[in-house]
Symmetry: C2
């Protein structure tokens, strides 16, 4: 489709050309001066049930809903995460929505976009280079080469870089183990997304824990005097990016940290900016509500002082059937019984979201294979539990397919509600974890591995007031990816803690979390290329 | 200083807004459709004497000269290389000229610019990831993990990545040695700069040699079916970048390969585009004329079918004194004798350039410490050898300081000359090398190490018609960095050959060429940061 010049989209938000920098014809970076201290917009979180191979359509619903609100006469903005470049060449589609509810230009957004991830990669790797260079030139800080916790980053799915040894054949520096993470797993990305302004970004970068000295003293980025240079690298990237939807409404796409070892939400500056220039901001958080929404509420909005008005929980009949025990290849067949059997998964997500004190609206992202009987049965079943279901058909109909959802959003946002966080900052780290497990996951207790148990004492002592970021499988409420639907009577085992001091949270790892993906046997890179006219084919939206 | 919107600079070249993509207010990418098949502009190479710590000012002279030609009423464009990000954090200044003869915005150009180097890094590393992934998934091509010649890249001075071992603790793939090169050393950069259009870029990327199979068969990028995806990554980067000079005249900055293991010139598409839209194009080549200009003539302009009209050789009195044996700290003192003692270095550069059949103009980049007596003595000495000297004072005076040089350029470009290459494509590889050594370096002969000698047979057989790219120290005509001025009776020892099949040349390495720089003890990163107003301080121009 023919896009509109991005200036026209900006104009619909009363943004002047002097307040933006164009990156090509259809992308722009917006000036941080557009952020109000007390923005007036309504913040709506779009979350989803546990991800399944059936597909949920969280971004598609988000984009469709913002288009619908625009159709209803409001200013509404989708505030989304920016995708990582690497996965385009593996098998995952991009993160730009689908059908008639997409953000554009899709190829650009999924590839280099405005260079934000490259800037983050550069800042991450400058810090690494400076650490090893410091050791090479005499190691005045007495850094233990075998206790460097800062890792290098690359925005590529490159399995071979998971475990490596560097500094080989160098007489002046000891070789040591190293790992490359994919860029979205870098703490620079987490910090970038949580910083309230450039000064805060600088402070947070400086506070990042990078290594320990040989006598056990923590070494931070600021000790290496590299933060100013990292800021120079990140300065332009820190401005939120404006693009458009398939219906020429605005979307702001900025920042995208992992939702397991990090908090999985777009940037605070983008969210605040969107709230400053529109009536409704539809934002999202990674994976299902147990991971993304929990962190959105307990980390992002707490740190940023934001008050969400409403959570929209995206569900699909296909994913309910999958949670009800149906195999992927049979999901297209009508199966009301299996769908109802999967309901407890949806119910637990609703309960978790409701625990935050805000209203929760369930949006059914309708697939062409969903039958009227299935939808009717689900509506009836939910009504019996006092839950209202709104059908969304934005993939096939665009904003038109979410007008009812849009009206409900307006209605719910007008309600008064008081936000409740799952834990207090002065709860102990273990209490924070236990409250998440019980309130959000519906589990029983937290079990610590020997290693985690040993770590906890010093973590509690030194970082006790930080928030907790649980790195857990996204496929289950438990720490076992195969335990579908809504298991009960389970404990969550924490194997290890990691300190993200710049981001302001302690990562609690409940299993092996992959921070560097690999490519599949038939990588999607094979199917990407340029047409004769120079346009790209094969990038998956 | 206040810059002009880049659209105004474009307008001075009759470029429409539809033919460009803005990247912020002061940078733009230009559409490839602006390239004519037979461009009418005059191509002028700005080269220099052997680099010394005294400084030569090749880029400064280039920028000042293009400003002067604009003052004289012509359309003139500086067509320069784009700098690498990494060295900003080490000790080297950027590559944007100096004083009143600079290209702007300096910080942007020296940091991320329009993302071209990031795109090249990504394309390079996608290929690496695909190679190792291929091995991991069964290795259908039978790639020898210990004979992968393709290396990963990062745009950072990161010594610790020079020699590493990857794929550790992975049961499905063997660990193997790996090295990271700085991005400008990647063959993707060389190919990017030599490709005549997108199709040619695709062909060249496919032809890059990446590994050998266990039975010795060469494996190319195209065998891994990754070239289309690399093209998607490079598509936007391939468009030349327009910026402005300190006098609001146009400059095009695009591509920047090493001048030792690669050919050290800006991109062919940028050069051709500049020739299509202006009267005079001032381009440059890395290091002194023995390295950069030789490759500009024998590789770049030969492959691209370009005919330079003139070479301007930049010299300084300080560098002549240095070649004459004076220490850096004494260069500010008048010393006519030492200056004349350094003259043979200048003379050999003139002779080398003259061997290509084009006129050579010597531009003296005047420093404040140069005395009138020195300049007069040099002018007289050169006149005795039939060489005309033109003094350039662009650092202190801008374009005004090169008006005479500009008039001479116009005069010389009007002369008829026939370009002569140092060797023919059907000369043997060894003959090509010998001709370079004798004609350009003023040396005697080529000596091959045992290894190079062994390699030569198959190189001659399989790649005999390719050009030769000598990787040699830039500080001497010889392969000994300490042999200053103009040594005679020396041989050049080639230790190793490498095949750059995509770029279309054989690299002949005369010593250990560093393809991954390190950082100094007091890295310049410490002195970079953001001002309170969000602007960057500390980047060196």
């Amino acid at each position: 489709m023919e896009l509109k010049p991005i200036q026209e989209i900006a104009k619909s938000l009363q943004i002047q050309e002097s307040q933006m920098d164009l990156y090509g014809k259809y992308k722009a970076k917006l000036d941080l001066s557009l952020i109000d201290d007390n923005p007036k917009g309504n913040l709506v979180l779009i979350s989803a049930v546990s991800p399944t191979p059936a597909g949920e359509g969280k971004t598609t619903t988000n984009v469709g809903l913002s288009m619908a609100l625009n159709k209803l006469g409001f200013k509404a903005i989708s505030a989304l995460r920016e995708p990582s470049l690497g996965p385009n060449f593996g098998m995952k589609g991009g993160a730009t929505g689908g059908g008639k509810a997409q953000v554009l230009p899709m190829d650009d957004i999924n590839l280099h976009f405005t260079g934000d991830l490259h800037a983050i990669t550069s800042a991450n790797n400058l810090l690494s280079a400076i650490i090893d260079n410091h050791i090479w030139h005499g190691n005045a800080l007495n850094i233990d080469p075998n206790n460097i916790v800062w890792r290098r980053a690359v925005d590529m799915n490159d399995r071979a870089l998971r475990n490596i040894t560097i500094n080989q054949d160098d007489k002046k520096a000891p070789e040591h183990k190293e790992s490359f993470d994919i860029t979205v797993a870098s703490e620079v990305m987490a910090v970038f997304c949580l910083a309230s302004d450039l000064k805060d970004l600088e402070t947070r970068l400086g506070n990042m824990l990078v290594a320990y000295s040989l006598d056990g003293t923590p070494i931070h980025a600021k000790d290496l005097e590299v933060v100013g240079a990292m800021m120079a690298l990140l300065k332009d990237a820190f401005k939120p990016n404006l693009v458009q939807t398939t219906e020429y409404t605005p979307a702001i796409i900025h920042g995208g940290p992992f939702a397991n070892i990090a908090h999985g939400c777009n940037s605070v500056v983008a969210t605040k900016m969107a709230l400053s220039i529109s009536d409704y901001v539809l934002t999202e958080a990674g994976f299902g509500s147990d991971l993304g929404a929990e962190k959105f509420m307990n980390i992002k909005t707490r740190q940023a002082g934001l008050t969400p008005k409403l959570a929209v929980l995206v569900a699909t009949i296909r994913s309910l059937k999958y949670q009800g025990g149906i195999k992927v290849r049979e999901l297209n067949e009508e199966n009301i019984e299996a769908m109802i059997a999967g309901f407890p998964n949806l119910k637990r997500h609703i309960d978790g979201l409701s625990s935050f004190g805000m209203p929760v609206l369930v949006a059914l992202n309708r697939f062409p294979t969903d039958t009227d009987q299935e939808i009717e049965a689900l509506t009836t079943h939910l009504a019996q539990h006092g839950i209202e279901l709104v059908v969304s058909e934005v993939f096939s109909k665009g904003g038109e397919g979410a007008l009812e959802l849009g009206r409900k959003v307006v209605e719910y946002c007008a309600k008064d509600s008081t936000i409740v966080r799952t834990y207090h900052d002065d709860d102990s780290i273990l209490d924070k974890l236990t409250k998440i497990v019980q309130t959000i996951y519906g589990g029983r207790n937290v079990v610590l591995s020997e290693r985690a148990s040993k770590q906890l004492e010093s973590i509690q002592k030194n970082y006790g007031t930080l928030q907790v970021c649980v790195a857990k499988t996204q496929y289950s409420f438990t720490d076992d990816a195969k335990a579908l639907c809504a298991p009960t009577d389970f404990d969550i085992t924490i194997k290890e803690f990691r300190v993200s001091e710049g981001a302001g949270f302690i990562v609690a790892l409940s299993g092996t979390i992959m921070t560097m993906p690999g490519l599949p046997k038939d990588p999607h890179a094979r199917y990407i290329g340029l047409e004769d006219d120079g346009s790209i084919f094969g990038i998956k939206g």
